[in-house]
């Protein structure tokens, strides 16, 4: 039986249609990532599965049951940091244990196990206000790991985490796969989505593609991606770089440009020459394989996340 089964799900806010007939299935123990830009409807979808919002139409089932009657199976971690800053890590988890009906002794035992699982046993007597962003997020994930929870829904959990905290956090999520917990990861970060066994790309309320990360990448005709750092940025540079990319696929980034090209080895010297000719110096050129964010860009001509 599927852990999550969604058919023709729609959601409207007045005239605005946020979800347009979404179909989605997540198997028991599967790690599924739903990736899309802000406003694509992914958070709305997650909150409907978690019973926080109601759908306008369609069907949602959690292990064959309606979400409202299967709340005990779902561990939902919303985007915001919901833990209480004035309580310690342990007190926060004890609060959730109490909400779930644990006796004091059972709660203490389970909370100890959870703190160990998320690597916060030594920090458990510190108030949340003293935690780093990564520690806080791990503690919040612990609230969704009480025994009996079979589906973990994580809404953009790594946003705002530094690279080290993000790695630790994702490592924790990978560990959960061993326990047959189905994980639905909502993200706009391609690197996070690539850890999943299956990825769905969502745009304007529709899932536009779905599959294993590598297969999704192969399905597009993207070959190489070149990151070029330049001393300045201008329309002229953009035009020059566009000449080296089929369908003029060039993105402006924080430090320069991202160019989707056919043959990096052949193109690189030509790009350097052309930039020099217009008085621009490329300070750094890196090539990499296309990411899921590039796949999304290829399919929609939109970026998954804003350049920050």
């Amino acid at each position: 039986m599927d852990a999550i089964s969604i058919e023709k799900l729609t959601k409207r806010y007045g005239d605005s249609v946020v979800l347009k007939g979404v179909d989605l299935k997540v198997a028991e123990g599967e790690f599924y990532a739903l990736m899309g830009p802000n406003g694509s409807g992914k958070t709305t979808l997650a909150s409907i599965i978690a019973s926080v919002r109601s759908p306008t139409g369609g069907r949602v089932e959690i292990y064959g049951r309606k979400p409202e009657s299967a709340k005990e199976l779902i561990g939902y971690i919303p985007q915001e940091n919901f833990s209480t800053p004035l309580l310690t890590g342990r007190e926060n988890l004890m609060y959730f244990a109490g909400l779930l009906g644990y006796s004091r002794s059972d709660a203490e035992k389970t909370v100890d196990e959870l703190l160990n699982k998320v690597g916060l046993a030594e920090e458990s007597s510190k108030r949340i206000s003293e935690y780093s962003g990564g520690m806080r997020k791990r503690l919040e994930v612990a609230t969704a790991l009480f025994p009996g929870i079979k589906i973990l829904i994580l809404d953009e959990p790594t946003t705002g985490l530094d690279p080290s905290a993000r790695r630790k956090f994702l490592g924790l999520i990978q560990e959960l796969r061993k326990e047959k917990t189905a994980v639905l990861l909502i993200t706009h970060i391609g690197a996070d989505a690539e850890l999943a066994s299956r990825v769905g790309l969502i745009d304007e309320g529709e899932i536009i593609a779905e599959g294993e990360p590598e297969k999704l990448k192969k399905a597009t005709d993207l070959r190489d991606v070149m990151n070029i750092e330049t001393t300045t940025k201008s329309e002229k540079i953009f035009e020059v770089l566009s000449r080296f990319s089929e369908k003029k696929r060039v993105l402006e980034t924080d430090t320069g440009y991202r160019v989707y090209c056919e043959d990096v080895e052949k193109t690189t010297p030509e790009i350097v020459r052309s930039l020099n000719a217009i008085g621009c110096k490329a300070t750094k050129i890196e090539t990499e394989k296309p990411s899921l964010e590039d796949v999304f860009f290829r399919m929609t001509e939109k970026m998954v996340r804003e350049v920050s």
């Binding site: 939902y76 971690i77 915001e80 940091n81 007190e91 609060y95 109490g98 006796s103």
Partner: protein, 257 residues
């Protein structure tokens, strides 16, 4: 441990660990008891001064309860909503009424502590009460009505003012303004006729007057708030405010979009 006791424990800890909450609900009324007990009773016979101090201590206890219900409670709810805790709770197998019961019980416990501390400081300053067990129990009943009415207003604020600072400031504003114009902060006898009518309808000031009447005397209450009609009105409006807050909170704060 149940949902009610879990929410109770969490909320009480938050109240006790939030410095601003402690200041406005406990320190501020105590400060006024100290100022009032020594500033407004110069050249007044000792016995009258003692009863005046008792009257000030009761008024400030009522004000502490008002602040707790009207500002601390909505601040706590708004903070939980703002940081996504209410969304998290909605995704869990939790009954809204149990969440609310835990919050209200925490408010009662915190309010009782605040009222007790303010009263003790009043006693330390020379306040003198003339009470029996019966009038003491009756007074506790009126304090309960103050808490219910304040909590009702607090829940309405929490429902309609979404952000933490907005909710707290709205609650403090309502508490300060209504206390000033209804006889909680000002002696009833000094109020103009229109505000005296408001003081009788507003259940918090009429409860406060009832407690002063019971523990200090009619002269200090300014009127007899214990007539059958007045007591019924006080209880009824308190319960209506509480019921209104309950309905608003459970319908709108826990409503699915």
């Amino acid at each position: 441990m149940g949902q009610i006791s879990a929410t109770f424990g969490k909320t009480v800890k938050e109240f006790l660990r939030q410095r601003a909450t402690l200041f406005w609900t406990i320190a501020w009324p105590i400060l006024w008891v100290l100022i009032g007990s020594f500033s407004f009773v110069e050249n007044v016979p000792t016995e009258i001064a003692s009863y005046t101090r008792a009257s000030i201590a009761i008024s400030m206890s009522v004000f502490a309860l008002m602040t707790a219900g009207m500002a601390n409670l909505p601040g706590n709810i708004a903070a939980d909503r703002e940081r996504g805790l209410l969304s998290k709770l909605m995704s869990m197998p939790i009954y809204p009424w149990r969440d609310l019961s835990g919050r209200i019980l925490a408010l009662l416990a915190f309010s009782s502590l605040a009222a007790l501390l303010v009263t003790l400081v009043g006693l330390g300053c020379g306040a003198r009460f003339s009470c029996s067990v019966v009038t003491l129990v009756q007074s506790i009943g009126f304090l309960l009505l103050v808490t219910l009415a304040s909590a009702g207003i607090g829940m309405l604020v929490a429902t309609f003012v979404k952000h933490v600072h907005g909710a707290v400031m709205t609650g403090v504003g309502i508490a300060v303004v209504t206390a000033a114009v209804s006889g909680v902060m000002t002696p009833y006898a000094y109020l103009p006729w229109l505000l005296q009518q408001f003081a009788r309808i507003y259940p918090i000031s009429s409860s406060g007057s009832s407690i002063i009447f019971l523990l200090v005397g009619e002269d200090y209450a300014g009127y007899n708030p214990l007539s059958a009609n007045q007591t019924t009105l006080t209880a009824l409006v308190s319960l209506l405010l509480f019921a209104g807050g309950l309905i608003a909170y459970s319908r709108f704060c826990w409503r699915k979009e």
